[in-house]
């Protein structure tokens, strides 16, 4: 589904990503860890196609199509969807209308969809106008529910969300990825067979791992990916040893699974 090859990205002329290779299969959810400033968000922004993220080398292939330099709306229409961490307010654009736009003419019961993320009371408000952190998350999820992306990019689903909302966010992300409501009694095999939506999720706290079936994970460090393992294993390791271990790991061939040469 997504294939990133030797991706180098600069922001304002400063190299941030220094050779990313990553493949995410259809139906697979990939978790990205890493300290602040390591380039995780840059990777997501680059995949979505934001201005200011200059690809200096490498390529991004989505569904066999090279989208390295494709405009954002083309990526969105191909099936890439992103949850914004700090989306702008658009005055005069009610949330309901925004959700309609996301659906691109698809028939939807917006009120019912909004109810599922406890957001029906916000539909007439301008999108993001005065929304709290949790409200932004629910608004973003509602838009993604309408958009129905096949690759979901999610930067820190836990940030700014209280525990109660975390469960709602977690279940909704899982529904977006699984394509069926989490409560439905589909067998595991059925679920796996139906799964075609992939995910790329950034997390610091790992709370989201309690809700989604994440298959693989890696640590981003200084613009490179390292230490591929099951996300739970990575999370436990970071919790016990911090990211210092990753530095040692990257610096020394004898530790862990080394993906890249030592950093300068």
């Amino acid at each position: 589904m997504l294939e990133i090859r030797d991706l180098h990205v600069s922001v304002h002329g400063t190299p941030v990503l220094r050779g990313i290779d990553l493949t995410i299969e259809s139906g697979e959810t990939f978790i990205l860890f890493g300290p602040n400033g390591s380039g995780k968000t840059t990777l997501l922004m680059t995949l979505m196609g934001f201005s200011g993220y200059e690809v200096t080398r490498g390529s991004i292939i989505f569904d066999g199509k090279d989208i390295t330099h494709a405009p954002m709306h083309e990526r969105a229409r191909l099936g890439i969807g992103m949850s914004f961490q700090r989306p702008p307010t658009i005055h005069g654009l009610p949330t309901r209308r925004m959700v309609e736009l996301c659906g691109r003419g698809r028939e939807m019961d917006i009120t019912e969809m909004a109810r599922r993320v406890h957001f029906d009371a916000f539909l007439d408000r301008d999108v993001n106008a005065g929304f709290s952190g949790g409200e932004i998350k629910r608004s973003e999820l509602l838009q993604l529910m309408a958009q129905q992306p096949r690759l979901l990019l999610f930067d820190e689903p836990e940030s700014g969300v209280d525990l109660e909302n975390m469960a709602l966010v977690g279940h909704t992300v899982r529904e977006l990825l699984d394509g069926v409501p989490a409560c439905c009694s589909a067998t595991l095999r059925e679920r796996n067979r139906n799964r075609t939506t992939s995910g790329l999720i950034i997390t610091h706290t790992g709370h989201i791992l309690e809700y989604v079936n994440a298959d693989r994970g890696q640590v981003m460090y200084h613009g490179k990916l390292c230490c591929e393992a099951r996300p739970r294993v990575i999370l436990d390791h970071i919790a016990n040893h911090g990211y210092q271990e990753c530095l040692r790991c990257l610096a020394d061939d004898s530790y862990g699974k080394i993906m890249e040469a030592p950093l300068i």
Binding site: M48, G49, F50, S51, P71, M72, H73, A76, R77, G81, M82, F84, P87, P88, I90, H91, G92, L93, M98, L101, C102, R104, D126, Q143, Q147
Partner: protein, 387 residues
């Protein structure tokens, strides 16, 4: 200094034009122009309608007891020159436009809602100009008596073939104690029309004046600066304007509020977009009493090669007033464009969506069909390519 040569226009002729009983009998082209100026030619869902064609009152009717509606010339004759209301808020010596209108008033309406009468449906008034070099110099008087409520939909339009016409219009608004006047004005002029409205109003204690102004179509040269004086305790005035100036349009428009009594509140909100024309976006709130509150907001978007000049002013010598203003001139935020593009809208669609939101007419509480007409007009604006 004015650059308008008034001798170019004909301010007389056709005063006795035949009445038009049924506005749907107008030629289709004219009806279309009127609809875009917010006029319901079906004459349904209104409390009354007044229409003036060039210099003649051609259609005037009220359906509601308690609403008086007539040609200003008839009202002056009937009420001995309306000494309480005629030229009481504006100085006829103000400029050449007021002088001409005093010397030769060729129409306008007198509208009065009696004490305590609350009209649920709007009264529509329409000023229509046809032909070459026609000049309207009209005088309107609107009186909302104590505790009464009135919504006026004022549509002004030129016919398709009207060229080099001028509209000079005096309007005096009187809102008595506890009265409420909502005045929605929609302009649908032509590319060569010169427009000089001169309006002023006075609101007594507890009264409310809400003014909505919409200009989405080209106009040659428009200049206006209506002013409202809040003269009684607790009176409120609010101006909402939505202005678009395509290439060739010159719009110098602003609103003025004088907070001259305690507990008065005033708000001026304008949203202006130039797609090539010039907009001078003025606003003034003065406070001569305390405690009062006033807020002024002029926001402008420049798309293409237009010019936007925002001039917000606050003035007071009172201790304890609360006045604020917010002015911004800019372009569409890239961040907003990309947000919408990430949802699948192309750049043009994204820009148009943002401009539509910016020129939000929903807040004006217009009747549904009119809101739809205005939304459709905004949708037709060419703003996508201007990014």
């Amino acid at each position: 200094m004015s650059t308008v040569d008034l001798s170019r226009f004909n301010f007389t002729g056709g005063e006795n034009a035949a009445p038009i009983q049924d506005l749907t009998a107008l030629p289709a082209q004219d009806r279309e122009r009127l609809v875009l100026a917010g006029i319901d030619v079906q004459d349904k869902h209104v409390s009354g309608t007044f229409m003036q064609l060039n210099h003649a009152d051609v259609h005037c009717g009220t359906r509601h007891e308690g609403l008086e509606l007539m040609d200003i010339r008839a009202a002056l004759a009937k009420y001995d020159g309306l000494p309480q209301h005629f030229w009481r808020l504006l100085d006829p010596e103000k400029d050449e436009f007021t002088r001409l209108t005093r010397e030769h008033c060729n129409g306008g309406y007198f509208m009065r809602v009696a004490r305590g009468v609350k009209l649920a449906e709007p009264v529509q008034s329409c000023m229509f100009i046809k032909g070459q070099n026609a000049g309207q110099s009209i005088h309107n008087i609107v009186i909302v008596e104590e505790g009464a409520e009135l919504h006026v939909l004022g549509g002004c339009a030129t016919a398709h073939d009207a060229e080099h016409s001028a509209h000079l219009g005096i309007t005096e608004y009187y809102v008595e104690k506890g009265g409420k006047l909502t005045f929605t004005m929609i302009h649908n002029w032509g590319e060569s029309t010169t427009v000089r409205p001169r309006s002023a109003g006075r609101v007594e204690a507890g009264g409310v004046f809400q003014n909505n102004y919409i200009l989405l179509k080209p106009v040659g040269d428009l200049q206006m600066y209506p002013g409202i004086t809040l003269a009684g305790d607790g009176a409120v005035a609010r101006f909402d304007s939505v202005i678009v100036a395509p290439e060739g349009s010159h719009v110098d428009s602003g609103n003025r509020i004088e907070l001259n009594a305690p507990h008065t509140r005033g708000e001026i909100i304008s949203r202006a977009v130039t797609t090539g024309g010039t907009i001078i976006n003025r606003g003034f709130i003065g406070a001569g009493a305390t405690p009062v509150k006033g807020h002024l907001e002029c926001k402008g978007l420049i798309l293409g090669n237009g010019r936007m000049h925002a001039i917000p002013e606050l003035d007071s010598n009172q201790d304890g007033v609360e006045l604020s203003h917010e002015a911004a001139v800019g372009k569409i935020a890239q961040e907003e464009i990309e947000y919408l593009m990430a949802r699948g809208l192309d750049e043009d669609e994204a820009a148009a969506t943002i401009v539509r939101g910016f020129l939000n007419v929903d807040i004006m509480g217009l009747p549904a069909p009119l809101r739809k007409t205005m939304d459709d007009q905004i949708r037709l604006l060419q703003c996508g390519k201007a990014m």
